[in-house]
């Protein structure tokens, strides 16, 4: 059984838990899953085992606290400490997949928005002139910003895993960070001068490129198993 199947079964089986046990278990699940440098297969296997155990214990009237202890974070850290690391090949696949999905969504969204502007709003031409040098530079920068953002999001979720944080404060804070990040994106795009050779690309091509990249990214993930 591969990791994807295990995740699906886990999602179903989790519904059998009582509210209290579910909260405890899901905190651990998120925290352990986001220890991103661990083998995905091994991570999902141990999470399945812990869940199976908890479901059986629950039938006997035992709670998650009885089974895994009073300190879920400490227990989760112990589990993470023993999990084998992701191998380099798996790491590279994840990285490539992430980049491809990201590029796919940029190309796809760009295509959609520009086609909309051309046909519905009638404000833009159907083809755009791209400067390959600045295009490459901007794309690279976007990838870096996206990864930095992702890194902090993961950090934050792990940090907040075992805490009950005020939802409103969390929403406002994440909104603020989102706006700042978007601002940085926009700024970079505006201040980068045009350089390099030029190409004319129709937005149909951009859209198609987005779709192709999406399927390539999917394939990269499938190679894994």
């Amino acid at each position: 059984m591969n990791a994807e199947e295990l995740i699906q079964i886990n999602n179903e089986k989790r519904k059998e838990l009582t509210k209290e046990n579910k909260e405890y278990y899901e905190d651990m699940l998120v925290y352990v899953r986001l220890s991103y440098d661990k083998s995905e297969q091994e991570t999902e296997e141990i999470l399945t085992e812990l869940l199976d155990h908890l479901v059986e214990a629950q039938e006997e009237g035992t709670t998650a606290k009885d089974v895994f202890g009073q300190e879920p974070k400490k227990y989760a850290d112990e589990i993470i400490g023993e999990l084998p690391k992701m191998v380099t090949k798996e790491r590279m696949q994840y990285f490539a997949m992430g980049v491809l999905y990201f590029l796919a969504s940029i190309a796809f969204l760009n295509g959609i928005i520009k086609l909309f502007s051309y046909y519905v709003l009638d404000i833009e031409p159907l083809t755009e002139t791209y400067y390959l040098g600045s295009l490459a530079f901007k794309t690279l920068l976007k990838i870096v910003v996206a990864f930095v953002l992702l890194y902090f999001v993961v950090k934050y979720i792990r940090w907040s895993s075992f805490k009950r944080i005020n939802k409103v404060a969390e929403f406002l804070l994440s909104g603020l960070i989102g706006i700042i990040a978007m601002g940085v994106f926009m700024l970079v795009i505006f201040v980068t001068p045009d350089f390099g050779p030029t190409v004319q690309i129709s937005f149909y091509v951009t859209l198609l490129l987005g779709i192709v990249l999406f399927f390539v990214a999917r394939r990269v993930r499938k190679i894994n198993s």
Partner: protein, 107 residues
Amino acid sequence: MSIRSQLLKGILEGCILAVVERQTVYGYELSLKLQDYGLSVSEGSIYPILLRLQKEKLIRGEMKKSSTGPNRKYYYLTDEGAEALDDFKVNWEGLKAPVDRLLHKEG
């Protein structure tokens, strides 16, 4: 870490190998077996040990259908595991008698 949990860690590894040698078990089953033998450890404490034993290739896990239906990960003893268990038995025998003597006959 308390003395008890430090002591237990190594011993528990040996005991888990001994259970797995007798029959293949899945996690929950293993915790029941240990309790049956009177080893009162917290149930969850077996999982970090199971992971470590797998990493050291002393046991291996395999997802299999169980008699009650769902897929479970069953643990098997490897050849290295059998050797490690033999080592543990020798070490344990060497410790058990002197420690008993020390604790009960002196003072």
